[in-house]
Symmetry: C2
Subunit: 308 residues, 2 copies
């Protein structure tokens, strides 16, 4: 049986840095993972949408995962993005994460296939779980319909909980819609629901969410952790206001290049700006506008890693 | 330099059969490829949307391609679906196809990433072409926005033709929209435009299309080839009516399971019905409704392969 504690708290979908020739920059990636944990993340999601996961090959994900673990980050602090449209590839990533003892996997539905039935989607997940066949496996479903084009509905969750309770343990809800998150918390008590946005984190925590997996944790882990730790304190509303303001400012530009621009500013090193196309960095004016918006929101810019 | 003639005519995106344990059924696949060529296809697309390409791992695609070529099908009759969201994986599939001497690759844009700029999409294609760096390479762009979520716009094509004329040689336009196809033919004279539907094939041929790459070629290659060969004859309108009626009837059910049901009926063998989830076979009633619709459209059901 799996005795690793279930993930709870603030999880950052870790930005993936690239070298100038567009290869994953492993050293910088490990450095960022360590920094995020030091800043206050309870754990990390390797290969979420914010990580440009779908720009990475299966082999690149496996190699990066191993490198992070070899660098001393405990697998039980890691959730691994493992959902692809091709079942054998989801199996490979999922089996590797389970065998390593990772806290879980975050599994996109087979996102090339829009408009499929709940039964078909549940079977796709079931096929991966059955093939992996590892009692350590824990699956978080990944609902991000605006990006993936495929919703993880209540019908899908119900079908999976019937056969895989204890294995399918939660969901990242990146709908950005509090009504959807509330609906999940009400329909599936005890299910590990993580909103993908901190904009309504306090409400979500009050309703039973297990934490938050949010892109902005890459630059604001400390503030998010304060809110997570303090959601039952009198300061909670004020802490929520701080993180909401940051979120709104961060959303004023495309999220991934914007977050990378903030880290480039932190380090005084443009190496952070590189992305695999079709994603493109912000231009200098766009970055300045983002910084101004964040500043106006009272954002506490992170300091150079060397100063940590 | 590449001296293989450019693809022209009727290309079938080949259905991929699976064994009961959801592995690609290589023998049945090869048999279907040979049957399609015997029925009249000018060539084959391995790993289009109809092929459930995105249900296959990269390795499975490579293995199936090799098996087809080893079975004696000339690479110059093959176009290989090679576009994934991760550049290294698109490179692997594309390089393999070019090295084999395939007629071309059919390349989806990086489909996980919606709403990106023309510049970003063109750079993604360019990065694959540059990394493959093979003078034999010919790229067909794949515009199927309702499924992929990412359009291949005129702006993307213009950018690519500026730097890669002779390498980027055409597009499969699966918009299903004659206005879009006509727009491509008008804007890019000489570009190898293949509509993804035969519903307006005659109009497209008159306007300069190079042929048609259509799902229904899996069951109706003969009629499609007659239209392609006869588009300048007095019978053209009548031939167009026949294929349009078949297309409309075929579209009355989800296309992939419907086509598989017709082949199962042909062979008297339900092995054809298997699909990797999330796709699901038609139920018996659905299959009967499809057969009735096809019959009403005057469709000439294919005969058992053994009788060929």
């Amino acid at each position: 049986m799996n005795i690793t504690p279930l993930p709870r708290g603030i999880y950052s979908p870790v930005l993936t840095p690239f070298t100038p020739d567009l290869e994953p920059d492993t050293d910088r990636f490990i450095g960022h993972c360590k920094w995020l944990l030091a800043e206050g993340c309870n754990g990390l999601v390797l290969f979420g949408t914010t990580s440009e996961a779908n720009s990475l090959s299966v082999q690149e994900r496996l190699t990066l995962t191993d490198a992070v673990v070899e660098a001393g980050i405990a697998p039980h602090r890691l959730i691994i993005g493992s959902g692809l449209s091709a079942i054998p590839e989801s199996v490979r990533l999922t089996a590797h994460a389970a065998a390593l003892g990772c806290a879980g996997v975050l599994m996109l539905p087979p996102f090339y296939y829009k408009g499929q039935s709940d039964e078909g989607l549940a079977r796709a997940y079931a096929e991966v779980i059955d093939r992996v066949s590892d009692p350590r496996l824990r699956v978080y479903l990944y609902h991000i319909p605006k990006v993936s084009g495929v919703a993880v509905t209540h019908g899908v969750i119900e079908r999976l909980l019937k056969d895989y309770e204890g294995t399918v343990v939660g969901i990242k809800d990146s709908s950005g819609d509090w009504d959807n998150t509330r609906g999940l918390l009400e329909a599936f008590p005890g299910f590990g629901v993580f909103p993908g946005s901190e904009s309504y984190m306090l409400d979500a925590m009050k309703a039973g969410a297990h934490g938050c997996i949010t892109a902005t944790a890459n630059i604001a882990a400390g503030a998010l952790r304060h809110l997570y730790d303090g959601w039952q304190t009198p300061q909670a509303e004020a802490l929520q206001e701080v993180v909401t303001a940051t979120r709104l400012a961060a959303q004023s530009k495309p999220m991934i290049p914007g977050l990378k621009a903030v880290l480039a500013r932190r380090d005084g090193d443009d190496g952070w700006l590189t992305m695999r196309p079709p994603l493109m960095p912000l231009d200098a004016a766009g970055a300045e506008e983002l910084f101004a918006a964040l500043e106006a929101a009272g954002f506490d810019f992170p300091q150079a890693a060397a100063a940590q």
